[in-house]
């Protein structure tokens, strides 16, 4: 009885995570293909946007942030907030240089 319960648990675990993994590999393929399509800036953006999507999947599902407590989410977001500030204020210089 317990053996069957364990094997059911194992199957459930793998199926759930394999779906996420398949999605990640699909996105990887997509970004590879998109990189060869000449769309100017959109080509560059597509790579970064897809990387963002992949990271979101990993963070929310593999790292289980989607079911984490608010405090943990706050810790995760804090790094991102100050990273954005660093980029934005540096761009205020780099993009506005004469």
């Amino acid at each position: 009885m317990s053996g069957r319960g364990a094997s059911n648990d194992i199957r459930r675990l793998w199926v759930r995570n394999l779906i996420i993994w398949a999605a990640l590999l699909l996105l990887l393929l997509l970004s590879l293909v998109a990189a060869y399509i000449p769309m100017g800036r959109i080509t560059t953006a597509s790579g970064i946007v897809i990387a963002g999507a992949k990271s979101t999947l990993v963070v929310l599902l593999f790292m289980e942030l989607s079911s984490a407590k608010p405090l943990i989410r706050l810790a995760a977001i804090s790094g991102l907030v100050f990273l954005i500030a660093m980029f934005a204020l540096t761009f205020a210089d780099v993009l506005a240089r004469p």
Partner: protein, 214 residues
């Protein structure tokens, strides 16, 4: 209950609290790591804004197959790591799943480094090291490869630390020094591993995909 008392550490009196603190602590550290790698990405971005064409030319010189395969390897290692961490939380009966997941994770990590080694070899043969005798004419291309060597090196160091942590976990769990069920070290190691994976997810389009369309 015995599991918990074996895992309880000073100064905690409540295991649930200790578990939460460990998880919170590593997330705070990951926020720090976000800015660590973020600063490198900022360096890349500023240089790329200043030298867009050179970065495209330099990006074309990288080997996209090594890069893509390595990305797939790391994504798969995140899968096995996630399974191991979830199995450890689920039930004490899944100890073998935890061990198997950790072992595959460590091996995939090693595979990544071996593939990376082949890629480095190729880069050296193609004279893609900044300095005298650099292969490409544009000065900005040297910036690209300066970034490339530095960031892949820093990433490889992070990954090696990850492999060491996972190997240690396997050793401790295999010898049953600590139980796998609810072991906070598994979750903390897993979170770190996923972050190293995410860093690579962002490096992939920045290093391997520029200039492919032109």
């Amino acid at each position: 209950m015995t599991d918990e008392s074996a895992l309880l550490r000073e100064p905690w009196i409540d295991f649930g609290r200790q578990l939460e603190a460990g998880k919170f602590g590593i997330w705070v550290f990951l926020a720090s790591e976000t800015l660590f790698f973020g600063a490198l990405l900022l360096t890349y971005t500023v240089c790329r804004i200043e030298h867009p064409d050179a970065f495209a030319a330099a990006g074309r010189e990288t080997n996209v197959w090594y890069g893509t395969i390595n990305t797939a390897v790391l994504l798969t290692s995140s899968l096995t790591m996630a399974v191991a961490a979830q199995a450890a939380k689920e039930s004490a009966r899944l100890r073998r799943v935890v061990l198997a997941g950790l072992m595959i994770t460590a091996m995939l990590g090693l595979a990544f480094i071996v593939i990376k080694g082949f890629e480095y070899k190729e880069d050296l043969d193609k004279h893609l090291v900044p300095g005298a005798g650099f292969a490409l004419p544009q000065p900005g291309a040297q910036l690209f490869y300066g970034f490339y060597w530095l960031v892949t090196g820093v990433h490889a160091i992070h990954l090696s630390i990850g492999i060491a942590l996972v190997s240690r976990l396997i050793w401790v769990l295999y010898r049953r020094e600590l139980p796998a069920k609810d072991n906070p070290e598994i979750e903390v190691t897993a979170l770190y591993w996923h972050l190293v994976d995410i860093v690579w997810i962002f490096l992939y389009p920045l290093i391997y995909l520029p200039g492919r369309a032109s």
